[in-house]
């Protein structure tokens, strides 16, 4: 059991459909723990290419082992869905493994796994990301070439075969049961997101409502595919024992003739990028109670309106979240879990930054016998004091040190590097944005974190969600 592991700030908001936590992003710092440390930069030698149809390609050569990872980022997620079609993007992600024109049913994963590779995908509110990791060569097949061919096939000619579509509907419903219906934490998270982002494109759910999932039809999912799975809406990242020029030539050959989106579709997509749509409209100062028969101890999430990714305030609150709620020495852990009078079995704070907005939350589980209402009041009172008590030079520097370790660990594998680069290219249009991040993180001061903290908790703009078997059955 490793008790000390940090969940670093969700700088590049990657709370996936499949995850319960935050992304592992980090930074290089100039002055770390034991004094002198040469100021460093993240040096990743990346080649970037853009095809005429808008497809972006990033290649990172790493000859350490005869393997590579291949990522495709599509700029589409739960935020692009509307009423009645929640879950469509994620459903489509499942169907992308069900066959296309050249590589029919079962050929995609068979080719990959049969040659020692793995493949999977995830969907969140902003992106859909597909990934494969493979040996460079297998049974005399050039696997880089093969993957590029297969990915180009499914980007153009997805089958959405009706029988497979119906089977997959059941699979997604099972996933929904596993992640949310039978998980008090899942229920908390779904409710929190829907309440905080009510009235915005983030106010649906990536997994989809049960009713929408039952009603979704092939035409609706195909419509998403046509609108969003186009080269101008995609980024490919390849990391491993490859030659960048060779990869570029192969990608150009297989993807170069795919048409970009029509003007009409581009306009539609842009219409979903209007900042105005994403402004917080939630009603705050509320306690939402979920009846969960499987939660004997109350669990809770206390949410505050957050910030979009890439904003300075978003970076500052990454640090704030880490200072107050990441690791055993963090303020809230010391106060409520390991302190003199513990209230919770666990507690954490997270800053989840999405492309156009964000949410900051504190989550935890109460110790047996502790009153939910009283604990809530105690927590809220403590949040009013946390800004002055928790944030100082040492806790700020500690956070920067932790981010640095996290970052290095992230780029230890091809998969890590590919994801790291793709996320930045996708959100900032610049794969090397990490250097800007470094600058920002390094420039953040104690006063700035304190001010941000006071702004966050000062207005009592919170939503408290609890999940407990003693909560009333109806809201």
């Amino acid at each position: 059991m490793t008790r000390k592991s940090y969940c670093r700030a969700a700088l590049v908001g990657a709370l996936l459909l499949s995850s319960w936590g935050c992304s592992q992003m980090g930074l290089q710092t100039s002055n770390t723990s034991s004094g002198a440390h040469s100021e460093g930069e993240i040096q990743l030698d990346v080649k970037k290419y853009t095809l005429k149809n808008g497809l972006r390609l990033l290649v990172y050569e790493n000859q350490k082992l005869p393997i590579f990872s291949y990522y495709t980022f599509f700029d589409v997620g739960g935020r692009h869905e509307g009423e009645g079609t929640t879950g469509a993007t994620h459903f489509l992600e499942h169907m992308m493994f069900k066959g296309a024109k050249k590589y029919g049913p079962r050929m995609f994963d068979s080719m990959i796994e049969g040659n020692g590779g793995m493949t999977n995908a995830y969907t969140n509110f902003d992106n859909t990301v597909y990934y494969e990791s493979l040996p460079i060569e297998s049974k005399d097949i050039n696997m880089v070439e093969k993957i590029i061919d297969m990915e180009a096939d499914r980007m153009q000619h997805l089958a959405l075969e009706p029988t497979a579509f119906e089977k997959e509907r059941q699979v997604v419903l099972e996933e929904r049961k596993m992640r949310y219906e039978n998980s008090p934490q899942g229920q908390l998270y779904l409710t929190l997101m829907q309440e905080v982002f009510k009235g915005t494109p983030y106010g649906g759910s990536v997994i989809g409502s049960k009713q929408d999932l039952l009603n979704l039809n092939r035409d609706q999912v195909m419509s998403y595919f046509k609108k969003f799975y186009t080269p101008d809406n995609a980024i490919i990242v390849v990391a491993g024992a490859v030659n960048a020029e060779d990869v570029y030539e192969l990608v150009k050959d297989k993807f170069g003739d795919i048409s970009p989106s029509s003007q009409e579709i581009q306009t539609y997509r842009k219409s979903r990028d209007d900042n105005e749509l994403y402004k917080h409209r939630a009603k705050y100062g509320r306690h939402i109670k979920i009846h969960s028969p499987q939660s004997k101890n109350p669990m809770f999430m206390l949410a505050y309106p957050g910030n979009a990714i890439g904003t300075r305030e978003g970076f500052v609150r990454d640090i704030l979240g880490s200072i107050i709620g990441q690791g055993e020495s963090s303020y809230l852990n010391q106060k409520f879990v390991v302190g003199k009078r513990p209230l919770f079995t666990s507690v954490g704070a997270h800053n989840y930054t999405l492309k156009y907005n964000g949410v900051f939350w504190v989550s935890g589980e109460l110790l047996r016998g502790k009153s939910l209402e009283r604990s809530k009041r105690t927590l809220l009172n403590e949040m009013a004091r946390v800004c002055e008590r928790a944030i100082n030079e040492r806790t700020l520097q500690k956070t920067k040190n932790q981010y640095l370790v996290g970052y290095v660990k992230e780029i230890e594998t091809n998969r890590g590097v590919a994801h790291f680069l793709g996320m930045r290219e996708n959100f900032f249009g610049d794969y090397s944005y990490y250097n800007k991040e470094l600058e920002i993180y390094n420039s953040i001061t104690v006063d700035e974190v304190k001010k941000s903290c006071r702004d966050l908790v000062g207005d009592k703009n919170y939503i408290f969600v609890s999940s407990w078997n003693k909560n009333p059955k109806k809201k």
């Binding site: 490793t2 350490k64 082992l65 049969g114 297998s138 059941q170 049961k177 219906e181 370790v405 290095v408």
Partner: protein, 455 residues
């Protein structure tokens, strides 16, 4: 700094491997006084990983269980010099991650962080090993926290199913009881017992250090030998003598009722004796054929063809003296019977020799071809070496894995599946609503056990 290179053969061998692109050439076996150290050099990153292996685990315990796990987990509750807060604040300031892992056969402690901070970090870790006092006040809080978390295990039906599965499938062996103990044990833990346990591991148990990072990390030699006091003096290695339980003749089904669940968690598996686990590659391939990846037979049948589950996996693996096999999945309550019947059908088909060449080739390609990924991260590579050392197997075996996996015939795989996954010899554990009992009675010997039995 005295570093004795012991295993020249490894270098020579590794040279061949490196020619194929594998990074084994940097593995060195060192001796720090009498302490074995396995070092994997890597200058690419300014970080390190250390894994300290102890050749005994939860089997060292007497009447009160879970003490080893607690001793390793709660090292940082306080020492005579430092409070709990001092310790976590100091180590986390360095960006260090640290923690213990205890199995029945062995224990380990892992530390990672920035290479430039390895010396002060390890000094602190050594201080914890030498001076942890497990203060009663802190221990009391931790015990309450664990007990409350266990009481809330219903909130994670998958974890509950896995916990019960382990205990049931290994019953009548020394490995059945949870290494972390049960509620009744936790209540008995105290500072004196934990200090005694830690002292035993410090002084009597054989240790090995697995280390990766730039060369500068070797500077911890003196810290380890002087401040941890580990010089290779402890030589005890756990070995047990026990009688393997007799095989069952009908599936033994256990239902653990879970109020309000609309999904059933399913675990199917059994204990594997020392003879069965000797053929490790064949065992891995057999389990992989059934439930490894999206293209495995169970995944194809249960998920792709029938939409019964989100995921299914199968495994068969061994430690030094025992092993376990299992199938893990879940399904909605209404389709549990179908899922169980389809699973049974799939296992029986494979055990009776009905294995298609293409499917076996794919499983072999998948398992053998994924082999280089085990070397991608240094910590994963070291974990493999530690596992081989624990089992007393030469490192060269690691590099034979792909060829061996590709060499097995259909008949061998089918026979191994029959040995391991014969339906009538399985324990089947279901976590779900009580109403499932009438259906489950039809499928084998059913017993209904409350979840508290496993806490």
């Amino acid at each position: 700094m005295k570093r004795t290179l012991l295993f020249v053969g490894l270098f020579l061998f590794a040279g061949q491997i490196q020619a194929k692109g594998f990074p084994a050439g940097k593995v060195q076996k060192l001796k720090w006084q009498n302490l074995d150290v396995i070092y994997l050099e890597d200058d690419r990153f300014p970080t390190y990983d250390i894994n300290i292996y102890f050749a005994d685990g939860a089997l060292s315990e007497g009447r009160v269980k879970g003490l080893t796990d607690a001793a390793f987990s709660y090292l940082d509750l306080g020492t005579r010099r430092f409070s709990r807060q001092d310790i976590s604040s100091n180590l986390e300031f360095f960006g260090a991650e640290y923690g213990g892992r205890v199995t029945h056969e062995y224990a380990s402690y892992h530390i990672s962080g920035l290479a430039k901070d390895i010396v002060p970090t390890m000094k602190k870790i050594c201080h914890l090993f030498q001076d942890a006092t497990f203060p009663d006040r802190e221990l009391k809080k931790e015990k309450k926290r664990i007990l409350d978390s266990l009481d809330n295990i219903e909130s994670n039906p998958g974890a509950l199913a896995s916990r019960a599965f382990r205990e049931i499938s290994l019953q009548n062996t020394p490995y059945s009881y949870p290494a972390e103990g049960k509620k009744s044990d936790i209540k008995k833990w105290n500072s004196k017992l934990l200090k005694g346990k830690l002292s035993y591991f410090n002084n009597e148990v054989k240790k090995r250090i697995y280390l990766t990072g730039p060369k500068s990390v070797l500077n911890i030699e003196k810290v380890i030998t002087n401040e941890c006091g580990w010089k290779g003096q402890g030589q005890f290695q756990r070995a047990v003598s026990y009688k393997a339980p007799s095989e069952i003749k009908r599936p033994r089904i256990t239902l653990i009722p879970l109020k309000g669940a609309n999904q059933a968690q399913v675990r199917i598996g059994r204990f594997l004796n020392e003879e069965v686990i000797k053929e490790e590659e064949l065992m891995s391939l057999s389990a992989h054929y059934l439930g490894g990846g999206f293209t495995s037979r169970l995944m194809r049948v249960l998920r792709v063809e029938n939409g019964l589950t989100y995921g299914v996996g199968a495994f068969a693996g061994g430690q030094k003296q025992y092993g376990r096999s299992g199938v893990s999945t879940s399904t909605k309550v209404e389709s549990l019977e179908t899922l169980l019947l389809k699973t049974k059908e799939t296992l029986e088909k494979a055990a009776s020799g009905k294995i298609e060449d293409a499917n076996l080739l794919r499983a072999q390609g998948s398992l053998a071809g994924s082999y280089p990924f085990g070397f991608e991260s240094n910590s994963a590579y070291l974990a493999q070496l530690s596992y081989l050392d624990h089992k007393g197997v030469d490192y060269s075996e690691l590099f034979k894995f792909p060829e061996r996996v590709r060499s097995f015939s259909k008949e061998e795989v089918s026979q191994k599946i029959k040995d391991i996954f014969t339906w009538n010899e399985q324990d089947i554990i279901i976590v779900g609503p009580k109403k499932l009992s009438s259906m489950l009675k039809k499928m084998g010997d059913l017993r209904i056990l409350p979840l508290k039995k496993f806490l």
